[in-house]
């Protein structure tokens, strides 16, 4: 009888011991899990801080220089002489005006029409400028001050250069100039055009 009691008490003791060991294991596992979680949180905070600081760094750039560059490029190209004496074709800006309103006009005998000449002249000047500095993709977008739409409802604009720049969202560095407004009086009517330049790395 007494031996049975001893066995039972021994069994009860080992059971308690097993329960205690199990509980200890579970608490150790929980502790390990919480330590892991803590480590992961610390790593996430560290990575977040790094990403935040790097993001902040990428926004600091030569904004003043790029703005000056792209606006000056538009102005300089528009002010350059084409070499033709016709008043509609003297400067590149005159040629753009002519290409928009009278695209079939010829600046002289045997000379391509205004639209073709504007394309050729601008691409030639951009190539010369690119050779002297660095080559780039460019797009001159010419729109009137008032909205003009074609029969399909699309606004009529004259694009000279790389058309892919207009819709592309994948360009790494796309710079927009301020719109340049040029006006001309023909007869009693005044016509106004807005020209914008978009450039990106080639």
């Amino acid at each position: 009888m007494s031996s049975e009691i001893t066995e039972l008490s021994e069994e009860g003791g080992s059971c308690r011991l097993q329960t205690a060991i199990m509980g200890n294991k579970i608490s150790q596992r929980m502790k390990a899990q919480s330590s892991m979680l803590l480590i992961i949180i610390v790593i996430m905070i560290f990575v977040g801080l790094a990403v935040f600081l790097l993001g902040l760094a990428s926004t600091v750039g030569g904004n003043e220089f790029t703005a000056l560059y792209v606006n000056n490029l538009l102005l300089s190209v528009m002010r350059t002489d084409t070499g033709y004496t016709d008043s509609r074709c003297k400067l590149v800006s005159d040629l753009v005006f002519c290409a928009y309103f009278t695209p079939e006009w010829q600046c002289g005998p045997g000379v391509p029409n205004c639209l073709e000449l504007a394309n050729n002249t601008i691409s030639n000047y951009m190539a010369i400028f690119g050779n002297a500095t660095k080559n780039m993709k460019y797009l001159f977008t010419v729109t009137p001050a008032f909205v003009v739409r074609d029969p399909s409802g699309e606004p009529i604009s004259l694009d000279i250069g790389d058309n892919s720049l207009k819709k592309s969202k994948t360009e790494s560095l796309k710079l927009y100039s301020h719109p340049l407004v040029i006006s001309k009086t023909v007869g009693s009517n005044q016509y106004t055009l807005k020209i914008q330049l978009i450039i990106s790395k080639k």
């Binding site: 390990a32 330590s35 600081l53 000056l68 560059y69 000056n72 400067l91 002297a132």
Partner: protein, 167 residues
């Protein structure tokens, strides 16, 4: 005996855990120190770059807006540029714009580079203001699109204004 060994193992595992935590924390602190040092260096380099770029932009804007060189609106006058090259010294311009800079204006209406001196005008296309120093250190330069007005032919040509600063 079993209980003792279990306790010893528990103690060992706790020590290992603490050691791991300490190693991780030390590694994290070292990583943060390295990152912040790198960050400071980057910021310093960026500030240096920005200062130089601001200086280049400042000199460029001054040149493009000054009637001593231009007819206004960043159209350089070739006659004025040639006259400045012949009559003014670099020291006089350095009183206005500081030292350690160099400017070159190149009209793109001619092939190659023909320096503009009094005798070569108007068949030339390059004007250098303040001498280019071969042995200068930490050079930083930028190009700006500009125009040059050709007084003799009454034409405006596309040109490049190159501004360089150095130490």
């Amino acid at each position: 005996m079993d209980c003792k060994s279990t306790g010893a193992r528990k103690g060992q595992s706790e020590i290992m855990e603490y050691i791991l935590m300490v190693v991780f924390i030390v590694a994290a602190i070292i990583a943060i120190i390295i990152f912040l040092t790198w960050w400071n260096l980057q910021q310093f380099q960026m500030d240096t770059f920005k200062n130089r770029q601001d200086r280049v932009v400042g000199i460029g804007q001054y040149m493009m807006g000054d009637y001593m060189f231009t007819n206004g609106d960043s159209v350089f006058d070739d006659a004025k540029l040639t006259a400045i090259n012949a009559t003014m010294t670099c020291q006089e311009l350095q009183k206005i714009l500081g030292t350690n800079w160099y400017v070159k204006i190149k009209a793109l209406d001619m092939d190659g580079e023909k320096p503009c001196r009094w005798n070569d005008y108007p068949d030339c296309n390059v004007w250098s203001i303040c001498a280019y120093k071969e042995n200068a250190k930490d050079r930083f330069g930028q190009n700006f699109p500009v125009n040059v007005y050709r007084k003799v032919s009454d034409k405006t040509a596309l040109a490049v204004l190159y501004v360089e600063v150095y130490s």
